[in-house]
Amino acid sequence: MPKKDLISGNLAAAHGARLSRPRVIAAYPISPSTTIVEHLASFINRGELEAEYIPVESEHSAMGACIGASLSGVRVFTATASQGLAYMHEFVYHAHGYHLPIVMAIANRTLSTPWATTCDYSDTMAENTSGWLQLFAENAQEVLDTIIQAYKIAEDKRVLLPTMVCMDGFLVSHTAENVEIPDQEVVDNFLPAYSPEHFILDPDNRMAAIVPPRPWVISFEHQTDDCMNNAKDVIKEVGSEYGKIFGREYGLIDKYRCDNAELLLMTMGSMTGTARVAVDELRREGLQAGLVRLRSYRPFPDEELREACKDVRAVAVVDRDVTHGIGGRGGAFFTELKSCLYNLDSKPHLTNFIAGLAGREITIENFKFMASKTLESVKKGLGESVEWLDEVQIPVTKSAPLEKYADRIVLPGVRACAGCGMLLTARHVFQTLGKDTVFTFIPGCAGVTMQSALALKPLVRLPFAEVVFAGTAAVATGLREGLKIRGKSHVNVVGLAGDGGTVDIGLQALSAAAERGESIIYICYDNEAYMNTGIQKSGSTPFGAWTTTTPRGARRKKKTFKKDMAALMAMHRIPYVATASIAYIPDLEKKVRKAARIVAEDKGLAYLHVHAPCPTGWRFPTSETVNVARLAVRSGMWILYEVEEGKMKLNLKQEKRTPVREYLKVQGRFDGLSDQEIQEIQQEVDQNWSSLSSDQKPSSTQTIEP
């Protein structure tokens, strides 16, 4: 019996994936993504899904791993959104030519800038020439149903193309609906196991993808284009078969009250529910309105749309996106609809409405306005037009009193959690550096809390720009060079990022900036997971720590030790590397001053790695932040040292160390560690210390002295 449950679009997507039995899931759950992969990690942990989840360090690698896994001949799944999809782009494109039927859930969210994490289609529209199918679901049920269908469509031998299943970010992904969850057995009968023949990497059946002779490429693309076209029939067939088995039928478009309609609203995604109500109201008011929802954006269903439009007077197309500079202006749906209606003998009047960008609500009234506006231009005989629903209300806000903080760089009122280690770090770092500082950060804890959400108001008295996740060091490099040319070499250029933005996705840019000798100050506040997005594992998460992607349990727990980032930076032979802790503020300040001096002398990159506990993610009371940081140092879990011009100096010699158990037991994230695991951690710490204090020098840093 299928089960009904009140679940979010994210969980519905995870169930859809689970029921489709992917064997490899590779995802970077961060920049930004959703809880889809967290749910999948839990399914695997509970033994409800036999799959490997690879928590990669970036979306680029997520799609890379998916491509690798698909080439090995197994079914794969991933999920992302917005910047993450954009960062993946190179590999997204790569998948189509290998004809890998990868299914990817997308919670559509705005592509920056301006920054927003809310819903629109700018992310997937930027991938609309990538050779992926793009199916847009209206609600959570359709998300689940479409993911199951997507595998069947993508793996069909007439198609063999990767497929995106899109849902509205937040509006569907993070809200709960009643969803019917089918039985595994029934899904298994509908969706057979994946058995590729066209391309697989396996010594038992040797094939190699060759760079083809250049003149052949056009022909390969021609075949892909035919596959995309074939997908129209396959989507309809699969949607109809699904309907027969599961009671919910799907097609390329979804029509509502289109009989005898003189005006059509055309929508995509979740706005359709509101539009249906608007159509009902318009009909009651005497206007013969109808509605067409575009479900398949790729392939674009020309025939169905031509058929729907052939007898109507006017069409109001709503785009939750805009294609800057496109011929005729407007959004993607509008533009393509126009081209597909070109051959109609009697064409309807078209008006395009750009609405709902970055999650702005589209109301029943908005739809009724669109209908009347469109009819008005028909009556007046005006040409097609693009209208923006973009009225802005600037709120009158009053700042909290700040008279006491005239000399303060980071002002109070930052929306970081109570007891935040990051804020304590940032506050002292910037106060020490002073006003001749420019900084860049990323959408981590610092990026999202140190500015006001209500209006354009910063909470830091410094110039800054929030940039993309992988780019802290790259942007800082450019800033430094530009300021130097403008005669402002004295300005401190700071890159500020968390551990995820440093040791995972930001590593490439940071390593390169270090190697080039860029005179920037790079500060990593290490809270040992992706905290801002909901406590997902990073490369800095310690052995045995709970996170939402490393839940407790043998199957998914964190089995490796954290990346030793400061040592890695020291191996770049930069002039200054230091570790610091929020429990030792004077030491931190001293190191910040030293870093500033070194970059002022243009000697190269100065790197500071600050241990910054997080009460929210580490599961301890907010009052314990400093104490936990101190215990980390006293137990030797965190070592305070500097490497200056290749010379290493321990800042705090711990003759007698507190047992690591004392540090672990005050944090909920380490609950349930066995004695043996605690012993393993203790041994790792002891070994670290003995290698530091012995004469044995690490092989690649010959100049380091104990």
Binding site: I394, L424, L456, K457, L459, R461, V626
Partner: protein
């Protein structure tokens, strides 16, 4: 309609009263405080200010995390449940 700037830049500082987040309120016992300033240093939000009489907590912003009370070597800060 007021026109927005070309880029969403902000120049004017504005802050919000995070004091409303508080469940427990740190209260200073003046007679016990030795004015060491550790609470000033360790307050993540920087809302404990040094005055000539000792310290002053800015309740407009204090989120009530309790680090100050936890770290105070002379136990001069007490966390008290906020009343309605």
């Amino acid at each position: 309609m007021k026109k927005l700037p070309l880029v969403p830049i902000g120049t004017e500082i504005e802050s919000a009263e995070t004091g409303s987040w508080r469940t427990f309120k740190p209260v200073v016992k003046k007679e016990t405080c030795n004015k060491c300033g550790l609470c000033v240093m360790f307050c993540p939000d920087g809302v404990i200010l040094k005055t000539k009489d000792g310290i002053e907590i800015d309740y407009v912003f204090c989120k009530g995390c309790g680090i100050c009370a936890r770290e105070c070597p002379s136990k001069a800060l007490e966390m008290i449940l906020e009343e309605e």
